[in-house]
């Protein structure tokens, strides 16, 4: 009876208990012992527990009124424990529902809990160029910056050189004072595990020279000019570049490219040589390219017919830069089948045909479309591109146009950039190039380097776009380089607190730009003039018509938590047909 009274006092003499007490006190011949039923209190407020796969957690509820109680822990009616606490090991990823029943003579209590078995958060590291190693000259600084997939756990970093930790940050600057090959390791570690990446640094007396050509076959309409030569050179400062056709030297000097304006129809072979003298050492490179000069631009003009449609009729290429909408299913419309360039084109074509946007990703990402007829150059606005700009949100895309000069129906001829309001400004970088690197693991940012010595990342925005990779799935190479014209960004944080980002508009000449000038219909269309076409030197090019249009993201910038700027396109159309 004492224990009963004690419990009664705890519960402030609840009426129901009084009633039971009354009954008990009256039954003198058969005394009844009365107790409250068991009660379970979990040590998780929500009843939801989380554990890493392969690890064991202890679930230890507290109880009331459990005299002589039995405990039954079960999953789908299969008993997994009979003790007051449960040790549970997560063997498979996912959620496990566990029922706990506690019962004794006074009654029972039953609760369901959930255990979420999640992946271990082992850090994954990535280091641009680590697979091939690095080559530097003696005394030259080599700054390396590793990328680590972020976890919720505290993670430590270490750069290890000659068995010693030389840095505990993501970045390390290597300087060697002797020639040789040196091993270097970066390591990231947290309580769930560690990952590391090793590489070599070759220190040489003189750095090796190299150059990159993106094409070795050129063609030209007589009367125009094109730029011939490597798109990139390495350690060729001070070299002499010679361009020769047969025995005739057409250009020799420090310029690595030749603006060719041959007017005579025919086919030419051009020998290009680079020679670099460093002390007693002479190094040279050689590349032969071909050039076909075509006499007239009107050979393959395709006039409009009664069945011609005003909108584009085909996507020929879709090569975006990495970005938050690339491979994205929810809003981006991808479905994991875009694993080839052809499938990517089909995706983009379908999106545009259904008036959905196609994202070009970060700087340099592009799309190429064609029409079922040639678009005439009227000297006025000739075609339009629909984007999704609005005030304070412009993500400019550079426009390029092409004639089907060789008549094969494919965009394999010469691109001419359309002049815009930023053309010719000191802040505009022509021949800008960004190389993107495939992340080494899912849910990592995409690292990039540019040809100006900069590096950075396309951020992984886990809160908004959770696809594994922002790097296009259909690009087989682990790195790819996109080249084009880069505008000085007009992105800024208006709030000063990182909350309110503005992507300011440019005056005219760009897609997805809230232009005060070329949004003729006061909507999200920008309109363009073929007469704004220019060659690589910025000279006007008189194109009577065009057959293909390319749009390319023209800024390399990110807007805080919003992520990278990326041009979006929604449609292309021949404006002349709508006039």
């Amino acid at each position: 009876m004492f224990s009963l009274l004690k419990k009664l006092s705890i519960f402030n003499f609840q009426l129901s208990t009084f009633f039971l007490l009354f009954l008990a006190s009256c039954n003198f011949n058969n005394p009844i012992t009365v107790d409250n039923p068991p009660h379970i209190y979990f040590d998780s407020e929500s009843g939801i527990y989380s554990t890493k796969i392969g690890r064991t957690i202890t679930i230890a509820p507290t109880y009331d009124y459990v005299t002589d109680a039995t405990y039954t822990w079960s999953i789908n009616d299969s008993i997994i424990g009979i003790n007051p606490s449960l040790e549970f090991t997560g063997e498979e990823l996912g959620s496990v529902f566990i029922t706990l029943k506690v019962e004794n003579e006074s009654g029972s209590d039953e609760e369901e809990i959930r255990v979420d078995v999640v992946e271990r958060e082992i850090p994954t590291v990535s280091l641009v160029g680590a697979d091939k190693g690095y080559t530097v000259s003696m005394g030259e600084e080599l700054t390396l910056r590793a990328s680590v997939r972020q976890t919720s756990l505290e993670t430590t970093y270490s750069w290890i050189f000659a068995d010693s930790i030389v840095s505990d940050s993501l970045q390390y600057t290597f300087v060697a004072d002797s020639i040789g090959v040196f091993n270097l390791m970066f390591r990231a570690e947290n309580e769930d595990g560690a990952d590391s990446i090793s590489t070599t640094v070759e220190v040489v007396a003189l750095p090796p020279i190299s150059w990159t050509f993106t094409q070795t076959e050129y063609q030209l309409i007589a009367g125009r000019s094109i730029e011939i030569g490597p798109v990139q050179t390495e350690n060729l400062d001070g070299a002499t570049f010679r361009f020769a056709i047969g025995d005739s030297i057409v250009q020799e000097g420090e310029s690595s490219t030749w603006f060719c304006s041959l007017a005579q129809e025919g086919e030419y072979l051009i020998d290009i040589t680079a020679t670099l003298v460093r002390g007693n050492q002479v190094d040279s490179l050689y590349q032969q390219v071909s050039l076909k000069v075509i006499s007239t631009e009107t050979l393959y003009y395709r006039p409009k017919t009664a069945s011609s449609q005003f909108k584009f009729n085909r996507v020929y290429e879709y090569t975006p830069a990495p970005g938050q909408f690339i491979n994205e299913k929810k809003t981006g419309g991808f479905d994991d089948t875009q694993t080839t360039p052809e499938a990517a084109c089909a995706y983009a074509e379908n999106r545009l045909n259904t008036s959905n946007w196609v994202s070009l990703g970060g700087f340099g990402g592009y799309i190429v479309v064609g029409f079922d007829h040639s678009i005439d150059n009227t000297g006025d606005y000739d075609f339009g591109v629909l984007g999704n700009s609005f005030s304070g949100s412009s993500e400019p895309g550079i426009v390029w146009v092409m004639q089907d000069e060789n008549g094969d129906g494919l965009p394999n001829d010469n691109w001419y950039e359309l002049r815009g309001s930023e053309t010719g400004k000191d802040s505009t970088i022509q021949n800008y190039a960004v190389t993107y690197y495939r992340p080494s693991a899912p849910q990592m940012p995409v690292q990039w380097t540019d040809n100006q010595g900069n590096s950075g990342e396309i951020d992984y925005l886990i809160a908004y776009h959770q696809q594994d990779y922002y790097y296009p799935l259909w690009i087989e190479e682990d790195t790819y380089t996109l080249r084009g014209t880069c505008l000085a960004p007009r992105t800024y944080d208006k709030s000063g607190k990182g909350t309110y980002w503005v992507n300011g508009e440019f005056d005219w000449g760009y897609v997805d730009n809230f232009s005060p000038t070329d949004r003729l219909t006061n909507d999200m269309n920008n309109y363009f003039k073929i007469s704004d076409a220019m060659d690589a030197q910025g000279n006007p090019v008189d194109l009577k018509y065009i057959d293909f249009v390319k749009v390319q993201t023209g800024v390399n910038v990110k807007a805080g938590w919003l992520g990278e700027n990326s041009t979006e396109v929604v449609g292309f159309f021949d404006y002349n047909m709508t006039k």
Binding site: S46, S50, F390
Partner: protein, 359 residues
């Protein structure tokens, strides 16, 4: 990148609304008018449409016939609804459709869907709450004032200044009334519930909750429920584990906090007609009794890999309606479930269905 802003408009109405204010007025294009006579019970669905596309629409669903009529505002009035239809409320046979980025509230006949009036010159209206026939409150985002309007005259008659907000950080959302007090949750870059005296139209008290309370309801026990989204990764306002709060309306104090996992992003707390069952979205659809002491561990409706964007419960029979924005681009889908979770019907509505209003 801007698509993200658009798609997250409901959750992160940051710069875009302010941008919208700079963009001038919406143009309404006029067309043919269609006659409707939708007497009886029904459900209105406001479809936000894409930000700045001016493609917000209004849908109407008859639960008895399972027939849906889309674009009813345009069809009945021969003009577009505008840009970002945010919410709707009905009083005395008049539906009030709040069109956020067109800065307007349309009053429509709830049977014919014909416009009978409009309130204009609002900053960025979100929700409307009636105090009486001649006074209603209209909450705003990117404005530190709640607008007072006279619905009979379709006029703005005054403002309630909200403390500790600037125009840029201003955000007032959903309202519930207990006695003469109206409570409003402050969501975007806010963490408060405000208490307003409807006799003086003054904010007289506030209660701090977690980061960004998204919605607010009042249950049968006169307990208010709000659910925070916890902010987001990288937010300068902070990012924390979100919570569901039970708040006593009488004492204006928090009675219980149910904490979710860090990284969860719950929203849309709703009640059934009896006010005894609570529903919300947290990837899955969840349900619990208002008397429960902890949230369930199993969802009412499991996540289906899509974008649950709106939620309502039929006050008459407890059917649960879930709005699926799919990809924010195509027509959204409404799923109708029984109160035991069985799928009863599904139908397409407009782009980004976000809010419901029972007739």
């Amino acid at each position: 990148m801007k698509i993200m802003i658009k798609t997250l408009f409901k959750h992160f109405a940051l710069c875009i609304v302010l941008c919208a204010l700079l963009c001038g007025c919406m143009k309404w294009e006029y067309g043919l008018e269609e006659d409707f006579n939708a007497s009886g019970e029904g459900l209105f669905i406001t479809n936000e449409g894409n930000f700045q596309y001016g493609n917000a629409t209004l849908s109407y669903y008859n639960p008895d016939t399972k027939k849906v009529e889309n674009e009813i505002f345009y069809r009945a009035n021969g003009m577009k609804l505008g840009d970002v239809a945010q919410s709707m409320i009905i009083r005395d046979g008049i539906g009030w459709v709040i069109v956020n980025n067109s800065h307007v509230i349309f009053a429509i006949d709830i049977n014919t869907f014909k416009e009978i009036g409009r309130i204009t010159n609002l900053t960025s209206p979100r929700y409307m709450h009636f105090i009486n026939d001649e006074k209603a409150y209209v909450t705003q985002i990117w404005d530190n004032r709640i607008f007072i309007v006279n619905p009979k005259r379709y006029e703005i008659t005054g403002y309630i200044d909200c403390p500790n907000m600037t125009m840029e950080s201003g955000s007032t959302e959903q309202m519930v009334q207990y006695g003469k007090y109206v409570y409003v949750n402050c969501w975007s870059y806010q963490n408060r519930i405000l208490k307003i005296d409807t006799e003086t139209d003054q904010v007289i008290d506030e209660l701090t909750v977690g980061i960004q309370p998204t919605s607010l309801v009042l249950d049968k026990n006169n307990k208010m429920w709000t659910i925070t989204d916890g902010g987001y990764s990288g937010s300068p306002y902070g990012h924390e584990a979100p919570s569901l709060y039970k708040i006593d309306a009488e004492t204006f104090t928090i009675e219980q906090e149910f904490r979710f996992n860090f990284g969860d992003w719950p929203s849309e707390v709703q009640l059934n007609g009896a006010g005894d069952m609570l529903y919300w979205i947290n990837n899955d659809i969840w349900a619990m009794s208002v008397d429960d002491t902890r949230v369930p561990v199993r969802p009412f409706l499991p996540y289906q890999g899509t974008i649950y964007y709106g939620l309502t419960v039929n006050p008459k029979n407890g059917d649960v309606y879930v709005a699926d924005a799919i990809d924010y681009q195509q027509q959204g889908m409404i799923y109708r479930y029984s109160k035991t979770g069985e799928l009863i019907d599904q139908f397409y509505v407009g782009i980004i269905p976000g809010a419901f209003c029972w007739k």
